[in-house]
């Protein structure tokens, strides 16, 4: 009985994870500019991974395995947060350059 509940939980959580990955991809296709696309990519994918990790927790046999799963999610979260911040700054650099390129070249660059 417990294992059936665990299995149902796994199926639901992994499906939710897949849905988030789908949402991220759709957002990537449909959002208008670079910032929103980056947002769709990071948030949806991290949530997707989180839900998949959550779903795999009942399937793992031992506590140490479950802890390692959560550690993996935490590491990926940390890395994604840092990377997306750095990418966002790079996007801002590109947009700032585009703005100063199209404006009056006599103006001082900000």
């Amino acid at each position: 009985m417990i294992s059936t509940i665990a299995d149902i939980f796994t199926v639901v959580a992994v499906c939710a994870g897949g849905f988030f990955f789908l949402a991220g991809t759709v957002g990537l296709l449909r959002f208008p500019d670079a910032y929103t696309r980056l947002h769709a990519l990071t948030k949806a994918d991290n949530l997707g991974l989180g839900m998949i990790v959550l779903g795999l927790l009942p399937q793992s046999g031992s506590v140490s395995l479950a802890l390692k799963l959560i550690a993996i999610w935490f590491l990926v979260l940390l890395a994604s947060a840092t990377a997306s911040q750095m990418i966002a700054r790079a996007i801002r650099e590109t947009e700032r350059a585009d703005a100063s390129a199209t404006s009056d070249p006599g103006e001082a660059r900000r």
């Binding site: 550690a71 590491l75 940390l78 890395a79 840092t82 911040q85 750095m86």
Partner: protein, 313 residues
Amino acid sequence: MSVLLNVALVLLFIGLAAWTVFARDTFASVAGFIPYGLLLTAVWLRLVAVDVAITEAAIGAGLTGALLVGAAARLRATEARTNRMRPGAWTRVLAAIGSIVVAGFVAACVLLLPEATPTLAPAVMENIHTTGVGNPITAVLLSFRAMDTLLEAIVLAFGLLGVWSLAPDRAWGGRPSLQPIAEPNSILAHFARMLPPIGIVIGVYILWYGADHPGGKFQGATILAAMWLLAMMAGLADVPRVGRIALRFWLVAGPLVFIAVGFAGAALADAFLGYPEGRAKLWIVAIEFALMPSLALTLGLLLAGAPQRALQK
């Protein structure tokens, strides 16, 4: 269903490889290479070769990716010029034909292997109890063929020497330079403060776990080297001067311990790199612990590159 998954993996694989080859600039190629390493790990897992998978994850996805990023950054200055010197059409056609012939030959060899492939695996499993470790790969690398591992460690040190030899004369023994240093409070510095403690624990864990399960000193050393490089890239630690005696001592300490164990084995067990009866695991663990710092230092310095800054007082 699993066939479908394999097909999907192969298609993704070929797509990434095509991207890496046909991309217009080196940066885009490297963008394809890092996922390529990750995907290769997945393929090894599908083939249930777990030790190879963990090594691929460490070296292929992690270290080689960072190495290529550094190389692409260094090549940026001359890239425009090299792109103009593309080889002619005939050269490219001949190269393509050559590659296809070689790939086809290798595929034919693999597909035509006899059903019961000749293998030494049963012999290994019969004798593994003499080594005291549970992982057959560790047993082969550090006991049955320990000589090969010793020579590999020495070859790595020679590789580092080769990288150092690329330094300009006035910078010999100086510090390698790692791209513009980020400000001390930037997001990268924050990341470099949070990840290394966790990474070091995981690295030592993988080393310890490698005795009985997939893992081992090489993968653990790669993780340690990566954490050190992260701290250097974020400006939290300066790159060491490669002329320092202490640094050079630590670089060779691992192989020296290995050689010392070999001679001790000649005295105690009648063979170079032989282990005394029943105490094999102790010696193996000692070698692994001695090799790991040297390996981590070597890998980190390989990525840091040739010294660029002259000796500083």
